[in-house]
């Protein structure tokens, strides 16, 4: 546990929600940095642990895309909701879910945030405002739109941050959801995490026509492109969109240009993109390195401070792993619980 309570589940771990308005203070820069780095360190370890067999099935790492969810959550307010695809570990962490619970879920343990039953792709934490973790490409988009419907129905002032991939944009249910969100002016931000590929298919091979940001134009949904590798650009674009949405302006689309540094999942031939392309993105366009450079340049932090953060986060992740490894699997009787509400004694 670091001095600032970094491992407390669900609070303190990530910045206060709604902080992302105005120019970021030095302190906020540090929090953004820390939040991104937590995801990075967590995912690196998850990848390693996968190799040992302690994590199974599909596991989609978020490395490279950290600025997107951290920038989104920087502008979220308490009571807002978030959904995303199966590539969800970073989102859970950014929502403030305890890394222990996420790692334990990855290992299929009783202490996991889905009690070990969901695994990498199916994590939930309603208290943290995170409504999954959806394994079916595009399915979270109507679901997120429904969360927005609920916000509006209740008049709770909340909105839904609904993340989807560039591949998901070609799912018909996404178009249907866009149309209804616009028709009913629902409070939802569609954040396209455009990492250029859906599995091995580049955006150009999957999508005809205009820019992704314009996919909502037919429905009257404003959209714009965002440098998704610059957490401050993300934060600024999201802040603006969120303000418009909260003011009753209806849905918004942000096309976040990002990149995944790793394969689609743990088995990926990577034949669809060149080593050079990946290497260049890693060296020139790493969202964490970019923020680090800026912070150092502005004097918001020094090398020692960076090192301290990194050390603390590594400790958090190590602790999460230790916790998960030490956690028991679900008891066999759990096989039959949670199918229905009454199944739980």
């Amino acid at each position: 546990m670091t001095p600032d309570g970094i491992v407390q589940p669900g609070k303190g771990l990530v910045m206060e929600r709604g902080a992302g308005v105005g120019e970021p203070s030095a302190e906020e820069l540090i929090r953004l940095y820390r939040d991104m780095l937590l995801i990075r360190r967590f995912e690196e370890k998850a990848g390693q642990v996968y190799g040992t067999g302690l994590i199974g099935g599909f596991c989609h790492l978020y490395i490279g895309q950290e600025a997107v969810v951290v920038g989104l959550q920087a502008c979220a307010a308490p009571g807002d909701s978030m959904v995303t695809s199966y590539r969800d570990h970073g989102h859970l962490l950014a929502c403030g879910v305890d890394p222990k619970a996420v790692m334990a879920e990855l290992m299929g343990r009783r202490t996991g945030c889905s009690a070990g039953k969901g695994g990498s792709m199916h994590m939930f934490d309603v208290a943290a405002g995170f409504f999954g973790g959806h394994g079916i490409v595009g399915a979270q988009v109507p679901v997120g739109t429904g969360l927005a419907f609920a916000h509006r129905y209740r008049g709770d002032g909340g909105l839904c941050l609904c993340c989807l991939g560039d591949g998901a944009i070609n799912q018909g249910q996404v178009s249907e959801a866009f149309n209804m969100a616009a028709l009913w002016s629902l409070p939802v931000l569609y954040a396209i995490e455009n990492n250029r590929y859906g599995m091995g298919t580049s955006v150009e091979r999957a999508m005809a026509g205009r820019a992704m940001s314009e996919r909502g134009f037919a429905y009257g949904i404003p959209g714009r492109e965002v440098d998704g590798m610059d957490v401050l650009a993300v934060r600024a674009a999201v802040a603006e969109a969120v303000a418009e949405i909260r003011a009753g302006g209806g849905p918004r689309i942000l096309d976040m240009k990002t990149y995944r540094f790793r394969g689609h999942s743990m088995s990926d031939p990577a034949s669809y993109r060149s080593r050079e392309e990946v290497a260049l993105m890693r060296s020139e366009n790493d969202p964490i390195a970019r923020l680090r450079a800026r912070m150092l340049g502005e004097g918001a932090i020094d090398e020692a401070g960076l090192k301290e953060i990194d050390g603390a986060l590594k400790a958090v992740v190590a602790e999460a792993i230790a916790f998960a490894e030490a956690s028991p699997e679900p008891v066999p009787a759990e096989l039959l619980t949670d199918v229905l509400a009454e199944g739980r004694g």
Partner: protein, 330 residues
């Protein structure tokens, strides 16, 4: 209890209206449910009473609005999603199964999905193959769902109210041909029927006939013929719920009658009747004096021609023949 005479259509509407009055989180969404008053007039008057916030007309976007319903349920509301017919639920079935039915389990119980999917199921009159499929067996197959199929207006009222109050996703299979039929219904805003319980509509000693939805009529008609023509006293069970099936009631009945015929209008293969036959094997093998027989819809997409349509859907005579077969056998 005081009874009122009403149609299945009215019973369904009253069930929704009462639950909407009772719980502000309950709302209805679907195609033509509002301004049009429902394609089959089931939601007549609801828009007037509850307004467009709670009676939501949608575009023809089944998977989209189903997913929106699921999200709204995750978000704490209690949506009633109307499919203009269950045939169109096929477009949305990924959201029904993968999002609504599986999420409680996948989340280790952290999140539930209290939602009702309702609408007419199975054959209507002459609407042919794409508008006549019975989805009873598909939905009954899937854990995480409850599947209800009312017959009478009282069934409709008591079960729909229970479904709306249920914390889990409920598939509520209505039947267009029953909408206009009248039955007695208890006059009580708290009249609920338990999901998961079958009811004996007609007690009998000689054979058990199991049916659901409109096929209860067919079974009762067959029972009448059997008594009159053969002196066979058939017990008719209205399943009411298809998932979970009320196995104790079925076993108790067959333990008395030693014979069972199931009737459904859906296709035979891996249908509800197949499940009942398998259950009787497992739970009542020694009680059976004859094989469980299935009367089902013909194993074809429903034809349009009037004569073929009639041949494709179980008629009382088909049930009579099956019962005679199991009764003459022992």
């Amino acid at each position: 209890m005081e009874q009122v005479r009403q149609t299945v259509r009215e019973a369904l509407r009253d069930a929704m209206a009462e639950e909407m009055r009772r719980d502000p989180g309950v709302f209805l969404m679907g195609e033509e449910v509002g301004q049009y008053q429902g394609a089959y007039k089931v939601s007549q008057g609801l828009l007037d009473e509850f307004g467009p916030r709670r009676v939501v007309d949608t575009p023809i976007s089944e998977i989209g609005f189903t997913g929106i319903g699921v999200g709204a349920a995750f978000g704490g509301l209690r949506p009633i999603v109307e499919f203009m017919s269950f045939n169109f639920s096929m477009q949305a079935i990924d959201q029904v199964i993968n999002s609504a039915a599986k999420t409680r389990y996948m989340s280790g119980g952290r999140i539930g999905c209290p939602i009702v999917f309702r609408g007419p199921n199975g054959a209507a009159a002459r609407v042919a193959a794409q508008h006549s499929q019975c989805f009873a067996s598909w939905y009954a197959h899937c854990p995480g769902l409850k599947v209800v199929a009312p017959w009478s207006a009282a069934d409709a009222k008591g079960l729909l109210k229970a479904a709306i109050r249920d914390p889990d996703p409920v598939i509520f299979l209505e039947n267009e041909l029953l909408y206009g039929r009248s039955f007695d219904v208890p006059d009580d805003p708290d009249f609920l029927l338990p999901i998961g319980k079958a009811v004996i509509e007609r007690p009998g000693r000689d054979v058990t006939i199991v049916a659901f939805s409109r096929m209860v009529d067919v079974a009762l008609d067959a029972a009448g013929i059997l008594l009159r023509d053969d002196g066979i006293d058939a017990e008719v069970i209205n399943l009411r719920t298809l998932r979970p099936l009320d196995v104790p009631t079925l076993v108790a009945s067959v333990t008395r009658t030693n014979r069972l015929v199931s009737v459904e209008e859906g296709w035979p293969t891996a249908g509800v009747g197949a499940e009942i036959a398998a259950l009787m094997m497992e739970h009542a093998f020694d009680a059976l004096d004859a094989p469980v027989l299935r009367v089902t819809g013909a194993d074809v997409p429903l034809p349009y021609a009037a004569n073929l349509e009639k041949l494709a859907i179980p008629q009382p005579d088909d049930v009579v023949a099956a019962v005679r077969s199991v009764c003459h056998r022992a």
